[in-house]
Amino acid sequence: MTHPRKWLVPTLYILFLMLPIYGLLAMSFKTTGEILGGFSFFPQQFTLANYKVIFTDPTWYNGYINSIIYVVINTVISVSVALPAAYAFSRYRFLGDKHLFFWLLTNRMAPPAVFALPFFQLYSAIGLFDTHIAVALAHCLFNIPLTVWILEGFMSGIPKELDETAYLDGYSFPRFFIRIFIPTIAAGIGVAMFFCFMYSWVELLLAKTLTSVDAKPIAATMTRTASSSGYELGLLAAAGSLTILPGAIVIYFVRNYIAKGFALGRV
């Protein structure tokens, strides 16, 4: 059954979704004066000055660099820890395995604010405050369980006969794991990395609490709405637009695998 106006609802929906993003993008090309002056759908005086500030002022571009550094560290840690853990959950039966697996998820049930204070104290005490690794480790709290959960789903989709065949063909376990198993579940690793990236990239509270200057994330920089030169709304809009960009790029690469992850019910 084809309806002549079946495109209507999706189009409206997409327009509705795109509206705030368009607003942000439009704003980023306006001067602060124009933004404060009143609403206009298109920039009256088109300017790239906001972007120029971000790419030249270290307090702005360092925010991006800091965010990217801890996100990458976090992704690497999460995936490399979760790979063996997920393998164990998917291949072996051990005492309390199911409880432990479920318990992993419960880590995601507490709001990050719960952990902010103890983390702040802990990281200050061991001298990790205001470092990238501190934020990366803090984000592992959410990301490792998630990654284990996602990878376990993908791994359980691979029959254990693959492992056994590799042994029969003369591979030891470590060689099998690295040379055959990891390439086989590459899609799953891609999806897991994407989710690590996404959670770590958008998480603000812990990242802000655990940093002050040297590792300050971009999201924290953006919460600074006014500076010595007054309101800088155009600049904020430009920063916001740039913040969306990495997510869009990453999701482009894993778009096909995400659907697979959803099909497994693990994402």
Partner: protein
């Protein structure tokens, strides 16, 4: 190449909480002669796969030892055992091409590349995979993938044994015949021990020189197809081999001969009178025939299967199946049947007794 010997092998999988372990293998003592073509036959869940996995080392049995010739390999890891195994469902390395899949076990053993190429081409030819050699393995159909799995098992020439775990389940029927005869042919060529697990008796009987019948974790009988047919050692073998399976009729013993519902039967394998336990007479449907004199029966149904017909008859409440040639008339008035005394066996508590035991 080696002779594989099982000594009191037992295996129990870890039981669910609070339950006693269930033995998947019980007291298996078995010798697999070097170069034999064996079929391991039994119903699902009787321990066939467990037994295979203990040979290849994927499982370490909870008790007992396994020897390759005189070497105790019970705790030897799988890669060192030189066993090839093909599983029921296709296993391919998705990230490699078909050629690399087949070459994988050879390369792992440091074979040089020209020899690898030669051998892989030969196997690919045999399995009809030549056209696909450069394709990625993940793009093939299920039976294409299974052929790769088979090929990976057959490609090595240094193996002690090749184990097949119902390898033709996912293959089309017409291809099944072809591949099975290829396997048989290959066995004659290279003379490696092959153990072929199946629950299909036709498959087992056509492939193997010796059939090993398993039931509830034990090996109940080892023999040639003819032996299994004529002299099943256990009731299960009688049921399982042959179509339809063996008839079993409850009886008593009188002077070494069975008495079935006050009809004296005769057997060429008499037993002693003091048997205790549940006693039954076993007779194959092929060896029951209509006669002028014998046990009076009522005909229940006739199935015409082309070259022969299966007739189901009843005496008192016991059902007897018989196989009658298509051109033989079926008596209509007060039919009577006779059992061939040479093929009438006596079973006590499910096991064969009497002279038929150790011929």
């Amino acid at each position: 190449m080696a002779r594989i010997r099982f000594k009191n092998v037992q295996h129990a999988y870890p039981p669910p909480k609070g339950q006693k372990p269930v033995y998947a293998l019980k007291e298996v003592n078995q010798i697999w002669e070097d170069g034999g073509a064996y079929a391991l036959l039994g119903p699902s869940g009787c321990g066939k796969t467990t037994l295979l996995n203990t040979i290849s080392g994927l499982l370490t049995p909870s008790e007992g030892e396994i020897y390759f010739d005189d070497q105790d390999v019970t705790h030897l890891p799988t890669p060192d055992r030189r066993i090839a195994q093909v599983f029921q469902f296709p296993v391919v390395y998705d990230t490699m091409t078909v050629f690399d899949n087949l070459a994988f076990p050879l390369r792992n053993r440091g074979m040089d590349e020209t020899a690898v190429k030669l051998r892989v081409d030969q196997i690919a030819e045999m399995l009809d995979l030549t056209a696909n050699l450069n394709k990625r393995a993940s793009g093939l159909t299920a039976d294409g993938k299974q052929k790769i799995s088979l090929g990976r098992g057959l490609v090595r020439s240094d193996v002690n044994a090749i184990l097949f775990d119902e390898p033709l389940t996912v293959i089309d029927p017409h291809l099944k015949w072809q591949l099975r005869s290829k396997l048989k042919e290959l066995h004659q060529q290279i003379g490696v021990t092959m153990i072929y697990v199946t629950h299909d008796q036709v498959e087992a009987l056509t492939f193997a020189d010796k059939v090993v019948v398993m039931f509830e974790g034990t090996v109940v009988q080892v023999g040639t197809p003819v032996e299994l047919f004529n002299r099943p050692k256990h009731k299960f073998v009688g049921y399982f081999i042959g179509s339809p399976g063996m008839n079993f009729l409850p009886c008593k013993i009188d002077r070494g001969q069975p008495v079935f519902h006050s009809n004296l039967l005769s057997t060429s394998h008499p037993v002693s009178n003091d048997l205790s336990g549940r006693i039954e007479v076993g007779i194959r449907p092929e060896f029951v025939e209509f006669a002028d004199d014998g046990i009076p029966v009522v005909i229940e149904s006739i199935e015409d299967l082309g070259r022969y017909q299966v007739v189901t008859v009843k005496h008192e409440s016991e059902v007897i199946k018989m196989v009658v040639d298509e051109d033989r008339p079926i008596p209509t008035e007060s039919p009577k049947i006779q059992l061939n005394p040479d093929m009438t066996r006596i079973f006590c508590d499910d096991w064969l007794v009497g002279g038929g035991q150790n011929e």
